[in-house]
């Protein structure tokens, strides 16, 4: 399943994360990929409005705040992607009739925004200690005019690209949980990008593991 085309480079920009930086939310994290920076805050499990409550599961709400202005239609579409990915990985049935809120604040956008949102969301949920059945990470691939696959593109590279794809890869089976694409591409290109994303996700999962180990080794 992991056939990687030799000509593509699986290079991610330098990424980093800081956890528990905000005092009020139950969990918070900032995730930085190159120059793209996102701040995530997770609240929950908490009281839920009767109109929104689900009898056997927790209600997850995701809010994406852009840098300037109010959230628009574009943010709603991104919220839907992040929310459904989180819903599939959280064990929602452990907290029926409760609410989980995830707020993602955009600090700076320099490309690969949706994957940065996903990574920040996952780290914030881990920081909040919410039970999850699997971890996930986001990887963005761009296909430029020559057909080369660029992972984790900058905003300039995204603008020049013919197609842009963001995938959420899960940690247990390395399969595609979420897919959001723009531009047209062939089936072969899609499969190559998925393979490249799966390879890139290894680095991110290793990073999650290291950061959690570093954090809890002090307390144990």
């Amino acid at each position: 399943m992991m056939e990687v085309c030799g000509s593509s480079n699986v290079t991610l920009r330098e990424f980093g994360s800081e956890q528990s930086l905000l005092s009020r939310p139950d969990g918070s994290a900032s995730f930085i990929q190159g120059d793209t920076s996102v701040l995530a805050a997770a609240y929950g499990p908490a009281e839920v409005k009767v109109s929104k409550e689900i009898y056997d599961r927790a209600t997850l709400e995701v809010l994406i705040q852009p840098k300037v202005g109010l959230p628009s239609v574009r943010e709603r579409a991104q919220e839907q992607c992040v929310r459904e990915t989180c819903e599939a990985s959280l064990l929602l049935s452990l907290h029926p009739r409760s609410s989980l809120t995830l707020i993602l604040q955009l600090i700076h956008d320099d490309g690969s925004l949706l994957s940065c949102f996903l990574n920040a969301a996952c780290v914030a949920l881990m920081d909040a200690g919410l039970p999850m059945s699997r971890l996930f990470c986001g990887v963005t691939c761009a296909i430029d005019a020559d057909g080369q696959i660029i992972t984790d593109p900058t905003a300039a590279q995204e603008k020049e690209s013919r197609a842009l794809m963001t995938f959420a890869i899960d940690a247990t089976e390395r399969r595609v949980m979420m897919s959001s694409t723009r531009g047209s591409f062939s089936v072969h290109e899609l499969q190559q990008c998925i393979a490249v994303s799966q390879k890139a996700s290894e680095k991110i999962f290793q990073f999650y593991r290291d950061s959690v180990r570093r954090r809890y080794s002090k307390t144990l």
């Binding site: 709603r76 599939a88 399969r175 959001s180 047209s184 998925i194």
Partner: protein
Amino acid sequence: SLYTSRVAEPLEYHRSFLKDNCRPDGRELSEFRTTTLNIGSITTADGSALVKVGNTTVICGIKAELTNPIVEAPGKGYIVPNVDLPPLCSSRFRPGPPAEQAQAASQFIADVIESSEVIQTEDLCIERGKVNPYIAHTLVLLDCLVIGSDSADSGCITVSLLPTAHLPEVTISTETSKPEVNLEKRHGLHIHRHPVGASFCVFDDSILIVDPTAEEESLSTAQLTVVTDDEDRLCVVHKPGGTSLSGEKLQECISRATARQREIQKLIDKVIHSVKTAQ
């Protein structure tokens, strides 16, 4: 009895059918519902289309307006899609500001139009001013009203029915240098591609179903919409989260979506041809 279990335990009810490789409405797992297309039903709009897939009905109207271009793209017109999911179509939607699903659907249609390059936005440019760049361009408003349960792909079929829109000719009169709209002379939009969407959902992480109804969608663990165009290129692969999908299942969905594109393409051609011969 079977009917009470449908309400009390819907998941078990559907599972009992899936065990025999069929669904409650009698379809196979990979069968689409009957699709009906109708164009030109709204006479006040420049173009309109009605698509019915099973019980899901979507009506789309197109109107063109004169406007100034966006600063970043001075040589192009633009299309503004708007998907409305009123309480009429399903009890899930309340009256008031558009729900998240409606907004996400509008963004989805905008992405399909952009990714598939259905029409070249340069064609919408009437005249690019030399002195003043802000001269008339066409803004095409695409309003989709969903009557009936959901399905993002009905919206896609209506998108590819854009060729039915007949826009009036606009000339810039040399004396007043203001645009003059000639409602008598109409010409169609030049359509480059025909994107068609196909929706799938995954049940219990393993069983793949094609063209789910609203009931099946609410019980599924993952949903996927694939939009393909005439050259077998993928325009949109939209899987907004849910359980993970293996490579083989994804490939299956894509092949089914390409087959669907052919069927719908034939249907669209037939409808447009019949309208032309009727005129």
